[in-house]
Symmetry: C2
Subunit: 307 residues, 2 copies
């Protein structure tokens, strides 16, 4: 039985995409409900200036709460050294630095060139290395727009490879590939995963962050599984996407993803009934105008389906 | 470049699932618009008593129109010998007899046991054999609920195999597998396709009819491609599903399916812009209460995407 890690990104990617600001208690209840369902990695927020993303201003508090849940990997996004310092202080287990392979998108998203962000990643790696060993978070370079960009169009695979290599040299433990714009197709997923692994090593690429913008999200997961990917980001109720890439919307839905993997006989450690309960926790916390997505919660589980 | 055949089933499966009755002209305009986009197989209707499905009462006329489009395979569904006679008279190129592997579903759907439907299929095959060679439609046994049933739950693969063998002995040219209830997962698709092909021969199973009830439709297509399936049913705007299987809804969406296949470098012969135009033809013909589905038409094609 192959074990697959689901990394829930809703509390970060979902909340940064909607206007509503959830109170800290609602965020903690959401994280706790997913933990109760069996989710063991959650990206709980982002350390960015509160004036840019007021929705995530209390990320430090969410990290501190999430750390009380035994066995949970508490992940956060940080755009720079200052954010990394805050993440370390709060006690995050995993730090992802988003790097858009499309430099146009990078400038628009975090106002940095590739050179600047690689240098910043190196500074973050040095900060981590300076910590006592038991306090060091893992460091991931998150290669966004890796499969194409709504501003630049096609993104050459060579550029993804080059940036992955630079990020590993800068001190990342691993890189991840993100289909920020929902441009990816299964053939491209397989070929790019193979190329990146060929360049940075089999164990330096484990995760895919996929969107369902054109309905191909789960087909792309299947392609990832075929080439050995074992970690998938997803969002409860499909909340979120990327607000800075016009036309791109919709993380893959955790409920549908877990249903597919479990139905295939893979192990996620997550109970679907628990996820449906977490979805209700989230729904009650959100204003009615914020829509939740996903097919399996509406259709229900197949008659006689057992996990 | 692998060629994939898309069999559009909206005019049959879609229209039988909604209350609205489209006028003949609207059906013909829809068929013509899909043909103009490059679609080369369309299931245009079903020969069933008009009192059961008044939406499809003019199927004969739709067949006669569709036959005027050069190179189009005009397919129809027929539940019995009487329907097959009407199909032959109208000049359909392909006849599918739906056979639900779940006998409970079969009784509810067409009020026939397996024994009765196999005997009926045999009679249809004899009718076809009695025709001059150039007027013989091809005959497919459509194995519905092959991946599970909302009334019976899991459907044993042995039963699907046995029924496929009976239908081929009864005189079918091929069988198809239908996930009527949206229960299928990619692992099951691969294993059932391999089993059925092992039993009835490589060339006697070419087509899958998949639903997106739990969001796995395109992932299941990908699994089908992996085991050599070359024909996929889908519905423009995802219209339809199976009205007799409670909780089951949603054919896979032609627009998203064609986008995925073309993006992967496979050839469907279908232009996406033409499909989007056909979608507008359909939308204008339907009352506003009948929703259309699909992600690609809303998101648009990726920047710089070329077919």
């Amino acid at each position: 039985m192959t074990q697959i890690l689901i990394s829930e990104v809703g509390p970060r990617d979902g909340l940064q995409s909607i206007r509503s600001i959830l109170p800290l208690e609602a965020k903690c209840a959401w994280v706790a409900a997913e933990y109760a369902a069996g989710v063991r990695e959650i990206e709980v927020g982002s350390f960015v200036p509160a004036k840019l993303l007021p929705q995530l201003a209390d990320t430090g508090d969410v990290v501190r709460f999430a750390r009380t849940l035994p066995g949970l990997t508490v992940a956060v996004l940080v755009p720079n050294l200052e954010g990394a310092q805050a993440a370390v202080e709060a006690g995050a287990h995993k730090i992802t630095v988003p790097v858009s392979v499309s430099e146009t998108h990078s400038l628009r998203n975090i106002r940095r060139t590739h050179e600047q962000i690689v240098a910043e990643t190196h500074a973050i790696a040095e900060l981590i290395a300076s910590l006592p060993e038991d306090r060091r978070p893992s460091l991931e370079g998150g290669l966004s727009t890796a499969f194409g960009c709504t501003l630049e169009g096609a993104v050459p695979a060579d550029r993804v490879v080059a940036l992955a290599e630079q990020l590993m040299r800068a001190g990342c433990d691993e890189v991840g590939l993100a289909d920020t714009t929902g441009y990816a197709n299964p053939t491209q997923i397989k070929s790019l995963v193979r190329r990146i692994r060929g360049a940075v090593g089999e164990h330096a690429l484990n995760g895919l962050h996929l969107h369902n913008t054109r309905g191909l999200g789960l087909a792309n997961v299947l392609a990832g599984l075929d080439v050995g990917i074992s970690t998938f980001d997803s969002s409860l109720g499909g909340l979120g996407g990327c607000p800075f890439a016009p036309g791109a919307s919709g993380n893959i839905v955790t409920e549908d993803l877990v249903f597919m993997l479990e139905a295939m006989g893979l192990k996620t450690g997550i109970k679907l009934e628990g996820l449906f309960a977490a979805r209700e926790v989230l729904r009650k916390a959100l204003p009615a105008t914020d829509e939740l997505y996903g097919f399996t919660p509406l259709a229900g589980l197949p008659l006689g389906f057992r996990q």
